[in-house]
Amino acid sequence: METKKKKSLASRIPARVWLLISFAVAMGVWYLLSIIPQTSRGFPNVVVTIEGLITMIQRGAFWQDLSSSLISVFGGYALGFVIALPVAILMAWYLPVRNILNPWIQFIRNIPPLAYVPLIVIVSGVGRRPQIIVITIACFLTMCVTIYQGVVNVDETLIKAARVLGAKDRDIFVRVIAPATLPFILTAVRLGASVALTTLIAAESTGAEAGLGMRIRALASLYESAPMLAYVIVIGIIGITLDNIIKLLERKLTGWQEKREI
């Protein structure tokens, strides 16, 4: 009874207000962190942090870092997707492809990218190229596995239903398998975005000239925690923005689905 009552009270508060409450709580925690002596060195307060960011902008570093990171992230992400899509379909359709590739995809997927970054730098030198390669690999692995699941899990009865209605192989691919896989592709796109960002830091440990991840390392060695924290938050904002854009796309494109939570 008791909990039910509480729940109904909480559920009467609209989502927007909850967002505000959540934001206020976070700001409170941040403030506490900034005044507790043990944590204050790493967590300067809001004003100092924003000042840190402004300094970086004035130094001309921020926009350069941001654009450099975004180019790497989107480059690697797009490449990863373009490779993952056909590979996943081939894996789903051809047993030999699946049996040869799948164990290694699983194997490499479980290695943190940071571990194999040096190898890639040795092969491809420093600069933009290794960054994109690392992000491509990480995105490819995640997206390939997810899309593969989608293609494999297409309901067999739907293919049969299409076939008995006279659908040819091409119709089945375009009009059944593609739309049935779309939700998984969008999930892959969403997971890929988050992987691309998390891999960014590893990718920029390759002697990048600019970049959010590279700058955080550089600032860390100088104990400049204000701009560092600002950069960390910027990465978070990019992540959540991407996530929400893709979720919006999912709602628009796959609203026909029965409830499914991932």
Binding site: D155, T157, L158, K160, A161, A162, R163, V164, L165, G166, A167, D171, R175, V176, P179, A180, L182, T254, G255, W256, Q257, E258
Partner: protein, 263 residues
């Protein structure tokens, strides 16, 4: 029944189907032969696993027979064809298409496009009383409504034979009798050849002209019983003495098979 006077639509000729499973060979069907005539309504009953769906899949061309053959209009079946439509137990509607577009899918596969397809689709939906739901997605429909759409879609393809695999099996008793009545009405009107699988002996008798009883391990035809109750039939027909007599006769045979399977 004077079968020879009518056109032979489907000929199932000594069909055998063996599945190769991890635990060895499994004979799902053996020596199944059956002639189905034009305009005939045939129901197949039998215990679970006796090969009813396997037989339907072979007729539909979704599965190959290990030996034997199926002929439709005298031509050997080698794959799916638009002369044979299928209604599945799990509806098999495309969830990403609206009700209307699901029906249009069938029309488009026949080369009917655009406005004409839209209008025709609405006509087929009107027949199952679902025009109002034309723009809804399948997830927004009840089970009975989904199956109506699936039936409308099957009709839109305008096959010569309708193959139905327990189409009402997942529905509650009330919806089930409702859809039976609708199907009866439709069939009495157009007399499209139907091959209908069910677990429900009442359903088999009320709908069909002949009930095929199958037995398991390996699946084969045990008996074929003529249902000599005249059409039009209604749900009240289920209370007539002749119906009950036939029901007893079929049920006792089916029940024996259930016992066999449980052993």
């Amino acid at each position: 029944m004077a079968g020879e006077a009518r056109d032979l639509k489907l000929k199932i000729d000594n069909v055998r189907k063996v599945f190769h499973t991890r635990s060895g060979e499994m004979v799902a069907l053996n020596g199944v032969s059956l002639d189905i005539y034009e305009n005939e309504f045939i129901c197949v009953v039998g215990p679970s696993g006796c090969g009813k769906s396997t037989l339907l899949n072979i007729i539909a061309g979704l599965t190959d027979a290990t030996s034997g053959a199926v002929y439709c209009n005298g031509k050997a079946v080698t794959g799916t064809g638009t002369d044979r439509g299928v209604v599945f137990q799990q509806y098999a509607l495309f969830p990403w298409l609206t009700v209307k577009k699901n029906v249009m899918f069938a029309l488009e596969m026949k080369g009917i496009k655009g406005k004409q397809a839209q209008e025709l689709a609405m006509q087929y939906l009107a027949k199952v009383d679902l025009e109002k739901f034309a723009d809804h997605y399948p997830k927004e429909l009840s089970g009975g409504m989904k199956q109506r759409v699936a039936i409308a879609r099957a009709y839109a393809a305008d096959p010569e034979v309708l193959l139905m695999d327990e189409p009402f099996g997942a529905l509650d008793a009330q919806t089930r009798t409702q859809l039976q009545s609708e199907l009866l009405e439709t069939w009495e009107r157009d007399r499209k050849t139907c091959f209908f699988i069910t677990h429900d002996v009442d359903e088999a008798i009320i709908l069909s002209q002949r009930v095929v009883i199958m037995s398991a391990r390996p699946g084969r035809i045990k008996d074929i019983i003529d249902i000599d109750i005249p059409y039009p039939r209604t749900q009240e027909t289920k209370m007539t003495p002749r119906f009950l007599e036939l029901k007893n006769r079929i049920w006792s045979q089916v029940y024996q098979e259930y016992l066999e399977v449980r052993k």
